[in-house]
């Protein structure tokens, strides 16, 4: 029983970070109906960002996370202007392939520079013990950071002019344009925010798991599952979806082999797409 409880807590803490990663994917989907297939490599870039800042420059990894966030935002806006803007109104296939080409470019250059050997950020925050459960410091900090980021995102979307613009463009791009919203800039900003969230999630994951340049792929697939679970386009749903997935990953291995986790995850994913494509937390059509 204690073991089950400990797995649930562990899964929950991890789930917050999954939620942040999925939030990046779901934000881009919600605003511009684009499935960002470069999501995984951007998560991996976040991991390597923290790694380079910590091992190369000797800066505290949590300051590194902030730097990674800024770089992630800029990178996302750059990707939008280069690859996405021209095909934003084209059929789905075009945006899927455009973002996938960015995926290939990042992975191709990344493997050439970093090779495919595993790295880790060798930085520990110790751990604390509460009765039967042991909490790893880095995971607690990551969970708290994820909550703060979610709060920050909501404050930005609901309290600032730019945030209102983003919601207006997501709601109806043509109408927003008629009201004088600079839609191209807002779309670029939204794409930037999405990649910022992805890179931050990667940066946080790097503080407790080893990684390679290909490591983002797993989290990209998880983000799809979570995004659909919480309703694509719904950031707060993504956070809850992340928690659900985290808890599932904590509980399932206690009664069946760990290798069955992805089977259940993806079956759940397809079932939700079929039965409730707007997600568990999505509004009715």
């Amino acid at each position: 029983m204690d073991f089950l409880f400990a797995s649930i807590i562990d899964g929950l803490l991890l789930g917050f970070v999954y939620g942040i990663a999925a939030m990046g994917l779901t934000l881009i989907w919600g605003v511009m109906n684009v499935i960002n297939l470069a999501h995984g490599p951007i998560i991996a870039l976040g991991m390597f960002g923290v790694y380079l800042i910590f091992t190369g420059l000797g800066v505290n990894p949590y300051i590194g996370v902030v730097l990674v966030a800024v770089l992630g935002l800029l990178l996302g806006m750059l990707i939008y202007y280069i690859a996405v803007h021209r095909v934003i109104n084209a059929p789905h296939l075009s945006t899927l392939l455009a973002t996938f080409s960015i995926n290939m470019i990042i992975i191709g250059l990344g493997t050439a520079v970093f090779s495919a050997s595993p790295r880790n950020v060798d930085f520990s925050l110790g751990s604390m013990t509460l009765g039967p459960i042991t909490l790893l410091g880095s995971r607690v900090v990551a969970a708290v950071a994820s909550l703060l980021i979610t709060g920050g995102l909501y404050a930005f979307l609901y309290k600032t002019r730019q945030g209102r613009y983003i919601r207006a463009v997501a709601n109806n791009r043509d109408a927003a344009e008629l009201m004088g919203v600079p839609s191209t800039k807002i779309l670029a900003l939204s794409f930037g925010l999405g990649t910022m969230l992805a890179s931050v999630a990667g940066a946080l994951i790097a503080t407790f798991f080893p990684f390679t340049i290909l490591a983002g792929g797993v989290y990209e697939l998880k983000s799809f599952v979570i995004g659909v679970l919480g309703g694509l386009g719904n950031p707060i749903g993504a956070l809850f979806g992340g928690l659900i997935l985290g808890v599932l990953e904590g509980i399932i291995p206690t009664f069946m082999p760990t290798t069955w986790v992805p089977v259940l995850e993806f079956v759940l994913f397809v079932l939700i797409l079929l039965v409730r494509p707007q997600g568990i937390f999505g509004a009715k059509k």
């Binding site: 789905h92 455009a98 799809f224 797409l273």
Partner: protein, 324 residues
């Protein structure tokens, strides 16, 4: 004369496939045969996907699931139950077709991005399941006993040549099928669904059935090709059988050549593999071949979305009769 003219598009496509196939036959080198094998395999897979992607307009991102599943079913029958390659290929194709039929009714209801996501989910679910499925060898997969190849013309080299000839025959068959679908009433229904599904239904196309059969048809051949590929390979494992990357490469090939045309996926599949071979062996691009391929893909998506054949058809309307 008019009879031949009507079939010019098909004849050109067949000539292109035969020209590729003739290359290793003429120079007799094993290495050329391997290069052309990869090219023809890509042509077959891309042409199959084209029925769904190009004609019907549904983006299947997990199409490799049919290649992997068919390959696994056929391989299992050959390795464990000593079936011959022929019956195993038929069984593999039927297994993939059955999966597509069962899935089709359910996931083809989803449109656009949701369908693409669902196909990724299906591929990952099947891959993860096979990883845990002990009769298929779990994560280790299965291997063929080397003795098996003795039944196919003597040594390993003869078996490899025989695999090559089977592949040529299959590629020709797929080309004819994609041509026939395109010029049939069924195919016109698919094209109508691609342009506007709701309007197509109003005009009397029974969209759910047509889509399902397009899905089944585009799944059969990858299943058969999977059996042949892994027979030649000698072993099968979950990771190479259900590689998501390969699904996306298939889409790239269709896009490169021109989606919705018969000749497009043939040129796209062959061209993509040639290019990849060139980048992999070129000292300048060897390490960044994936990035170079990515830049090329981006340029095509942004500037030539209709693909090579589509672009030529738009520029030179007179050639439309020949380039189908």
């Amino acid at each position: 004369m008019s009879g031949i003219r009507k079939y010019l598009g098909l004849i050109l496509a067949i000539v292109v496939v035969l020209a590729m196939a003739a290359w290793p036959v003429i120079n007799g080198k094993d290495i050329t045969r391997e290069v052309v094998f990869t090219m023809l395999l890509s042509v077959g897979l891309a042409s199959s996907l084209n029925i769904l992607l190009g004609y019907t307009g549904y983006v299947s991102f997990g199409h490799v699931v049919f290649f992997g599943l068919g390959g696994y079913v056929g391989f299992y029958l050959m390795a464990v139950h000593d079936w011959s390659l022929w019956t195993a290929m038929i069984a593999g194709g039927l297994a993939s077709a059955a999966l597509a039929f069962l899935l089709g009714k359910a996931i083809l209801r989803l449109r656009g991005g949701y369908f693409a996501l669902a196909t990724i989910g299906v591929n990952e679910a099947v891959r993860a399941f096979i990883n845990n499925f002990d009769p298929f060898g779990g994560p280790v997969g299965m291997s063929l006993n080397f003795q098996v190849y003795k039944n196919y013309g003597g040594g390993a080299r003869e078996a490899l040549w025989m695999s090559f000839y089977i592949l040529v025959a299959l590629t020709l068959l797929i080309t004819v099928v994609t041509y026939m679908v395109r010029s049939s009433k069924f195919g016109l229904g698919l094209l109508a669904i691609r342009e506007d599904e709701d309007a197509a239904e109003v005009m009397g196309v029974i969209a759910p059935n047509a889509k399902t059969w397009a899905y089944v048809l585009s799944a059969v051949f990858p299943g058969i090709l999977g059996v042949l590929f892994f027979f030649k390979n000698g072993n099968i494992e979950p990771a190479p059988a259900f590689r998501l990357q390969m699904s996306i490469e298939m889409i790239v090939m269709v896009m490169l050549g021109g989606q919705g045309t018969v000749l497009g996926p043939i040129l796209g599949g062959a061209g993509y593999q040639r290019l990849r071979g060139f980048l992999l062996t070129n000292p300048l691009f060897k390490n960044i071949q994936l990035a170079v391929a990515g830049v090329l893909l981006l340029v095509i998506v942004l500037f030539v979305p209709a693909g090579v054949v589509g672009w030529v058809r738009q520029r030179f309307p007179k050639l439309r009769r020949v380039l189908q």
